[in-house]
Amino acid sequence: LAQDDIDEDVWDEIEETLLMSDLGTDPAMELVDRLKERVTVEGTRDPEAVRTMLREELIKMVDPTMDRRLAATRKDGKPAVMMVVGVNGVGKTTTVGKLARVLVAEERNVILGAADTFRAAAAEQLTTWGERVGVETVRSEQEGADPASVAFSAVEAGIQQEADVVLVDTAGRLHSKANLMEELGKVKRVAEKQAPVDEVLLVIDATTGQNGLMQAKVFTEAVDVTGIVLTKLDGTAKGGIVVAIQRQLGVPVKLIGLGEGADDLAPFETEAFVDALIAS
């Protein structure tokens, strides 16, 4: 009966807000059902109270208790190794550059590995980032070189130079291309001949729609993703697809990208993310 005061328009508006943030139909409908239930049980009559409930339920769904720390310290006398992976153009190379900046600011020794040997000027782009933040980039001079052997060399250099972290950039690839996913698996396996890969960061562009879930599934199967970097949150996109990714795969969002500059990387914060998601 209490629901009578909160008319269909309120529910429609809430559902649309969630859908327009790329949350996806299942989570959006589930949330609305959950809210309807709470409204009935708690006898709420005020639409504002429903908004507060929505925020609470979303925060629960995004889960502030997830461990979002990065493994970025030497272990067993070897550097931490991180790989950055994802589909084309999402911001992998830029993220490697920004992450190096953060690590350097924490006085860690960092080495970059340019294992994108495919895209035009990809190694040059990473080298520019390396110089920008003052770290060495291991690359192949040869176009189309084996990306796995570049990753191997980068980790090898990291071990020799007693670096704290080796960051390996990889070529953009669509998860639907089996041969390219196979190649990525090989990059990881070959790098691991030198040292274990501690973090595999999957970059998801905040503008990504429902396809993002499939991306995360397939990349996780191929290289066991340990964290998500949600880029391009400085635009109008909300990045709601990561909610489904976290829920279904248990992989936490660890970092967010907020621009094209070296300092535009930040830790993921559940409440800020949720507030942006429901702000119209």
Partner: protein, 305 residues
């Protein structure tokens, strides 16, 4: 012939006899499933709302065909409406009466502009044109080099008076508007009949960069301004298409990364928001991976058929 969506819909109808005209109840039940299918395909919420309304109106007036059950019937209506919207007036590149033809590429960061520049130049060269590329993205690290490599692969001249941001130049060198303008002069001098201007990626909310794109347009008076958009984009397609349409103004749309498995509902969103024709599909990282847009295939893809 019909698959998943229709199958899902058919179960909605198992208790119906489906004779005569489609009833309002038939259509409502179907519309819910279709709405969901469109949302799962990333079609923008306002576009879905409008589209479903249209389909309902049309379905109400329709005779039920002997051969189809009500679900199939409504899906057929949906598909043809989708095709009609996506197709509209399809057209190929508008060439200038007095060469050079100027084509400017715009879009969000990472959408596929620089790759498309290479693809378009290769395609036009094969058609007997003498295209030239202009490197007016001086901002993204090594964007100029990337365009130069693509130009080399396509066998076309690249005008790149400034290296932009690179290891030697931490800050952007040169002014993109001046480069674009000078590129036009260079093309005239060298007698190229097509000029393709690659620009930096920019966000809809970045007013300064949007103004810069608008200035490039004003300085070069392009025959085509192509808006490149990633087929994987979700609901942000609306805000972004609107911002580019208002901020720069575009004449056509290119859907990129169509070689993936995204359903590509953005195609419908952009068409719905701007009315601008979708001209090409970009289908891979290679310079040959590029085709004319097919509205019928896109309609089936969005509906997952």
């Amino acid at each position: 012939m019909f698959n998943s969506l229709t199958e899902r819909l058919s179960s909605t109808f198992k208790n119906l006899r489906g004779k005569g005209r489609l009833t309002e109840a038939d259509i409502d039940a179907t519309a819910r499933e279709i709405r969901r299918a469109l949302l799962d395909a990333d079609v923008a919420v306002p576009a879905v709302r409008q589209f479903i309304k249209q389909v309902k109106e049309r379905a109400l007036g329709e005779e039920v065909s002997e051969a189809l059950n009500p679900a199939q019937q409504v899906v057929k209506i949906v598909q043809s409406e989708l095709e009609e919207i996506l197709g509209g007036e399809t057209r190929t590149l508008q060439l200038a009466k007095t060469p050079p033809t100027v084509i400017m590429l715009v879009g969000l960061q990472g959408a596929g502009k620089t790759t498309l520049a290479g693809k378009l130049s290769k395609h036009l060269k094969q058609e007997g044109h003498a295209p030239m590329l202009v490197a007016a993205d001086l901002q993204r690290p090594n964007a100029v080099k990337q365009l130069q490599v693509n130009g080399e692969r396509a066998g076309v001249h690249v005008f790149a008076p400034h290296p932009g941001v690179s290891s030697e130049h931490e800050d952007p060198t040169g002014d993109p508007v001046e480069v674009a303008k000078a590129g036009l002069e260079e093309a005239k001098n060298r007698q190229h009949d097509v000029v393709i201007i690659d620009t930096a990626g920019r966000l809809g909310v970045d007013q300064e960069l949007m103004q810069q794109a608008s200035d490039i347009r004003a300085a070069t008076n392009p025959d085509e301004v192509l808006f490149v958009i990633d087929a994987m984009i979700g609901q942000d397609a609306v805000a972004t298409a609107q911002a580019f349409n208002e901020g720069v103004g575009f004449t056509g749309v290119v859907l990129s990364k169509m070689d993936g498995d995204a359903r590509g509902g953005a195609a419908l969103s952009v068409k719905y928001i701007t009315g601008k024709p979708i001209m090409y599909a970009s289908t891979g990282e290679g310079l040959g991976d590029f085709e004319v847009f097919h509205p019928d295939r896109m309609a089936s893809r969005i509906l997952d058929m």
